[in-house]
């Protein structure tokens, strides 16, 4: 029998048929949590690959000093021109040149990774973090203290060529 259009509109048959789909999905999720597609963020976070291009990290040598020699190649290669470096003479003559200030204006950064490619001494890397909110605008100018020594970097940044192997060579 042809179901009358009015019954469909008044008794909201199409709505309930739609809700049927989500209702059974909810039951399925209730009973076997592991198969659930979505993550309950922020407790569980998605694990990205080591090549993920997140917030920048300035890698450090064994003695904790910056690996960066202020050669300005990243600042030159950056299409957004958001890296500002000033260099100075290092006291220890075997280091010769090091940055006294290294700032990235993260609001203008397009996370393209050109700086990581340009760096000859692998001093700057794109780290795994990506959630970096902040309250006022001035905080988005990351300086050396944030880029190299922020607390989230406690365990060292895992990447294709980990620091531990290079530290074992003593550089």
């Amino acid at each position: 029998m042809k179901v009358n259009r009015n019954i469909k509109t008044y008794f909201l048959l199409s709505t309930f048929s739609g809700m049927k789909f989500t209702f059974f999905k909810m039951l399925k999720n209730l009973f076997n949590k592991k198969k659930m597609i979505t993550l309950n963020y922020p407790e569980e976070k998605y694990k990205y690959s080591s090549r993920f291009k997140g917030t920048h990290v300035l890698t450090v040598k064994k003695d904790g000093s910056l690996r960066c020699t202020a050669c300005m190649l990243c600042a030159t290669n950056c299409p957004a021109q958001c890296i500002k470096i000033t260099a100075d003479e290092h006291k220890d003559s075997s280091v010769e040149k090091y940055p006294i200030s290294y700032e990235i204006d993260i609001l203008r950064c397009v996370y393209c990774g050109f700086c990581e490619e340009a760096c000859p001494v692998d001093a700057i890397r794109m780290g795994p973090e990506w959630q970096t909110p902040d309250k006022n605008g001035s905080k988005f100018n990351y300086d050396i203290r944030y880029l190299a020594y922020r607390p989230q970097l406690k365990g060292g940044v895992e990447s294709s060529l980990d620091d531990k192997e290079r530290h074992s060579w003593g550089i």
Binding site: S93, S94, W169, G170, I171
Partner: protein
């Protein structure tokens, strides 16, 4: 058997002093030469075909004829630096017959009309320097040097100058820079020394033996001199034989004399139980000959050139089968790296590279393409620098590697795994 012309009276100790030298027909050639005209003497030397005995083998007469006709003072310099490894003939000539050299120099100076000449002697030869100085003093006292020599109107002054230990000062222009008090670094050619040499004056640089042979040419005349040796390389040559032979020493034989006779007859052959492995015929910078080539070669400029080697300073280094060619190459490369004057980049950096490569091959930490690299580096160093030291370093490498290929590869393949040498990655103290 030996043909002693230059070294006829070397066994007599009094030949060293002036009267002893005069007893054996000494300084008569000078009297005879002073009667001739200078150009005649140059012509005689050119006819006699006397070739330079120092290493290049350039005809002496032709070199003398390059002198420009201008009124600049001309200098004659005797190259007694003798740095070529394996060579010790000049030292014996100066120890045993200094006057022979002085007489030859005065005749040559008269031929090219030079008022002043120097004997540039090697710094390490302290004793020889004393002997030659004494001889010069005697010559000055007997009116054989100084003004109006033997009343002939030709006046000539001679001085002796000692180097301070540099193989590069054996090269003509290196010697001239050293004489001028600068670092013994070779000068750019052109202009050649005959045109602009010592203090930009025309200069002729000749080896001890070349200048001494001039007296022989004057005494025996052109055809008397050409009696010995072959058509293209006439006269006799002093060969200093060293290495694994029973009786090493200086032997004067006519040019064209078979090498086999020199080693096995004159020098009493190898030590017993040893086989001939290789011979370096003309000083360390001459390409090496393996055993077969050495057996069949005659010692003159043309035959050695046909075998791919060169006569050079006539220092025969005999190598028997107890030595490893790679080790000898390392010794030679160490020599050339130590003696490179550092002026031109290919030679300064190239000799260092060759030494490090031969070291790594010898220590077994090299791989196959290191041997090929050794040859590539040597071939690209050759012929590109101001003086011939880079060629002198490249010739042994190319001849050693090409003629003893399997020995080099055996050293290299003993290290099968290509080890990654993290040689540059280490923290070093700088500044």
């Amino acid at each position: 058997m030996e043909v002693k012309i230059l070294t006829q009276h070397y066994d007599k100790p009094e030949y060293k002093s002036l009267d002893g030298y005069k007893k054996y027909d000494g300084y008569n050639q000078l009297k005879k030469a002073l009667t001739l005209k200078p150009d005649e003497i140059t012509e005689m030397v050119k006819q006699a075909g006397l070739r330079g005995r120092g290493g290049a083998g350039f005809p002496a007469g032709v070199k003398w004829s390059f002198l420009p006709k201008n009124n600049k003072t001309r200098y004659l310099i005797c190259n007694a630096d003798e740095g070529e490894p394996g060579t010790f003939k000049d030292r014996e000539m100066m120890d045993k017959a200094p006057h022979q050299l002085i007489e030859g120099m005065i005749i040559s100076a008269f031929a090219i009309g030079s008022p002043k000449s120097y004997i540039y002697i090697r710094g390490e030869y302290f004793e020889s320097k004393k002997i030659v100085e004494q001889a010069i003093k005697e010559a000055y006292e007997n009116n054989l040097l100084g003004d109006n020599i033997l009343k002939s109107g030709f006046s000539h002054h001679m001085d002796i100058y000692s180097g301070a230990g540099a193989y590069i000062c054996g090269e003509e222009t290196g010697l001239i820079s050293s004489l001028e008090g600068k670092k013994g670094q070779p000068k750019l050619k052109p202009p050649f020394p005959a045109v602009e040499g010592y203090l930009a004056n025309p200069t002729i640089v000749n080896n001890v033996e070349t200048l001494a042979s001039v007296t022989v040419i004057i005494r025996d005349g052109v055809d008397g001199y050409r009696k010995h040796g072959t058509e293209k390389s006439p006269g006799t040559k002093l060969f200093s034989v060293s290495g694994n032979v029973v009786k090493p020493g200086n032997y004067e034989v006519p040019l064209g004399y078979p090498l086999k006779d020199i080693i096995f007859n004159l020098c009493g052959g190898l030590k017993e139980g040893r086989k001939l492995k290789a011979v370096i015929p003309g000083g360390s910078s001459a390409p090496v000959l393996n055993a077969e080539e050495a057996m069949s070669v005659n010692m003159d400029y043309e035959d050695l050139a046909s075998k791919g080697s060169m006569l050079g300073s006539g220092a025969i280094i005999v190598i028997d089968d107890s030595n490893s060619m790679v080790e000898l190459l390392k010794v030679l490369m160490n020599f050339y790296h130590h003696e490179s004057c550092g002026q031109c980049t290919p030679c300064r950096e190239g000799t260092g590279w060759l030494l490090k490569l031969s070291n790594s091959i010898l220590s077994g930490s090299a791989n196959l393409n290191d041997v090929a690299l050794l040859e590539k580096v040597a071939s690209h160093m050759k012929g590109k620098t101001i003086c011939a030291l880079s060629d002198a370093a490249a010739f042994p490498v190319l001849s050693f590697v090409s003629k003893f290929k399997e020995e080099f590869t055996s050293y290299a393949t003993s290290n099968v795994a290509l080890k990654f040498q993290a040689t540059n990655v280490q923290s070093y103290k700088r500044g």
